[in-house]
Symmetry: C2
Subunit: 344 residues, 2 copies
DNA sequence: AGTTAGCACTCTATACTAAGGAGTGCTAAT
DNA sequence: ATTAGCACTCCTTAGTATAGAGTGCTAACT
């Protein structure tokens, strides 16, 4: 447990380093208005804090910088009590209030706002579609050889895919197939569709339609391939403005990672459904961001859908501001979405 | 006009510098197998080439590097005669042969292949939709309050948008509106839709439907907002592997530019419909890429649709390889698309 | 007994110098 | 016309000196 004075000085050091990115000396701290003790006293306190593992030196006679343990303590014990999460943040409210935007668009926009407001890199994982159901299936023919298949879910999500019509399939068969499928599959959870198609519907379709196999093969390829997770990233270049990232090697590995959507998505999925989480430096499992801190927050779409928003920045991060912001945004997003899904 | 020997040495210098990114000395060149003259002779030739503006020195006693004028000469006068554009490149063929991919997917994939094959950054501008027509308009209601509107064009492009149903609009009105619109607007060029809606159809719709204004307002907002240009970028982080880009400042301005889709799109649009174009260093109008070379090639979808593919790399670029590759890809893409649109 | 001033000490950052090497341009010999 | 030889230029690297920021410790002060 830290004494009052240790706490005061520790906070002053963290704040200064977050702002300046430079090791903080005893002199600097002693000159702050709310600090009354002398530099020598501060040096003693600093030595104590270092002993406890909350501070580090870059070399024997340098100023101090917070260690990862220090940030962890700061986030867990100091911030927690200071944060009033039910605060202002009106910009977000205004933006999310428009009512005819589509889910994806709100998410996209939020990512950009978030990175603009913080100068860190924002990542938003679109809601995982856990319990959506098929609303309607359509095939629109465009010419003798081409058609576009459209799938609509009860959440308003639309998937579409152009394809070439196999020459053995007759026009009428397309319509019949779609009619039968809609009749039987309306309201069926997306996850069950492949099974339904493969097992129960094949024989039924065969009764009415010739060459159903080829057509089904196409439909399956079209709809039931792995759905990519929707990922929105904002302000990737913001990290280049942080003075600690001037090593091309590190920048390269950061950008390489960010180009790999799966890896980024997995990073966030680890924190799905766990409120606000702060992961500092080496606590991150991915090498490319072991010099970064990652703050994640989950938002709800309805009981069954959840997404994650996150900010990625230096370990020297404005934790207080960022946590407040993420909390506010997650809340707003949950609110904005709840309307959409209130009676599905 | 260059003499035979000047040409031989100039080519050797270009090739060496493209490979090494280091100033090239007379010694290095004289040691190459196909060069028989001595280093001293090469020094004389180098002085001549520098006099003509094709080479530069980084300092008085350094080796030579090609100037931008040098690259320009190389591309215009040397490469042109050496390129056999109707070459191999089978990887592309295989990938583009699958027949049920959608246009956008082919484009996306091409961008990735391109950057992988070259280690430069690839940019592809999706085909500009110049002459597409409305195929079908649909509104699918999801609940009492929400619906999704879907627009399908004759090219297989699908736009969709969820919206909230204005409380004053009756369910039946939605259907009637869609029916009337489909009847009247099928086959109408997309560009004419706003005009048609505003002028000719308002009175017709008013006859049948109450509160048509509000509904139309929504539909217009949904469909006729500026269509974003589709842009696909691959291998952004590749530029970090080039030794000449180690200045954080430049990297930052590069990445900032790449995050601005409009700016990137404009860059490519300048070269729309102009075959293969090479823009070297300061020839680029955009400051952020004045240290880069940009190679663009246009591909055709049909008589009315055209897109652009491009590669962005250091002025020290493997021009020969890149030009061949872009040409081959543009040709393959044109071929792959022609089928889709053969009878629209 | 806690706090602070003073001071020796450490380490970094910066500027300066020296040596080595790659490469040029010129001259004279082939 | 070509090339060997050589003086000269400039970059790079390593080494050295200096100023400055900051620490830890000791002794004096409240």
């Amino acid at each position: 447990m830290l004494t009052e004075r240790q706490l005061l000085i520790f906070k002053a050091i963290i704040d200064d380093f977050i702002a300046s990115a430079q090791p903080v000396g005893s002199r600097t701290i002693s000159e702050k208005e709310h600090i009354t003790v002398s530099a020598a006293t501060i040096r003693n306190v600093m030595a104590e804090l270092e002993e406890m593992g909350y501070l580090e030196k870059t070399h024997t006679s340098s100023g101090r910088i917070p260690s990862e343990k220090g940030y962890r303590y700061y986030v867990d014990n100091i911030l927690a009590s200071e944060l009033d999460l039910y605060d202002d943040i009106n910009i977000l409210k205004d933006i999310l209030k428009k009512d005819f935007y589509e889910l994806e668009e709100i998410v996209q926009m939020s990512a950009e706002i978030l990175s603009d407001l913080t100068n860190y890199t924002s990542i938003i994982l679109g809601p995982e579609i856990i319990d959506t159901k098929l609303e309607q299936l359509q095939i629109v023919t465009l010419s003798k050889y081409t058609a576009v298949a459209i799938l609509i879910t009860n959440t308003g999500h639309v998937e579409h895919r152009s394809f070439t019509i196999p020459p053995t399939v007759k026009m009428g068969d397309l319509e019949k197939t779609v009619n039968i499928l809609n009749e039987r599959l309306h309201g069926v959870p997306m996850a069950k569709l492949p099974h339904m198609l493969n097992e129960e519907l094949i024989s039924l379709l065969n009764k009415y339609i010739e060459n159903v196999d080829l057509l089904l093969k196409y439909l399956k390829e079209i709809f039931f391939q792995e759905q990519p997770v929707k990922l929105y990233i904002g302000g990737k270049s913001n990290i280049l403005m942080q003075p600690e990232f001037k090593d091309i090697q590190k920048i390269h590995s950061f950008y390489s990672m960010m180009e790999n959507e799966n890896e980024v998505a997995n990073l966030l999925l680890q924190h799905q459904n766990r409120g606000i989480r702060v992961t500092i430096g080496n606590e991150n499992t991915v090498d490319a961001i072991k010099d970064f801190s990652l703050i994640t927050a989950s938002y709800d779409v309805d009981r069954h859908q959840q997404g994650t928003i996150a900010l990625l920045g230096p370990t020297r991060m404005e934790y207080k501001k960022v946590i407040r912001l993420l909390h506010a945004l997650a809340t707003e997003m949950s609110d904005a979405f709840s309307f959409w899904y209130q009676d599905n």
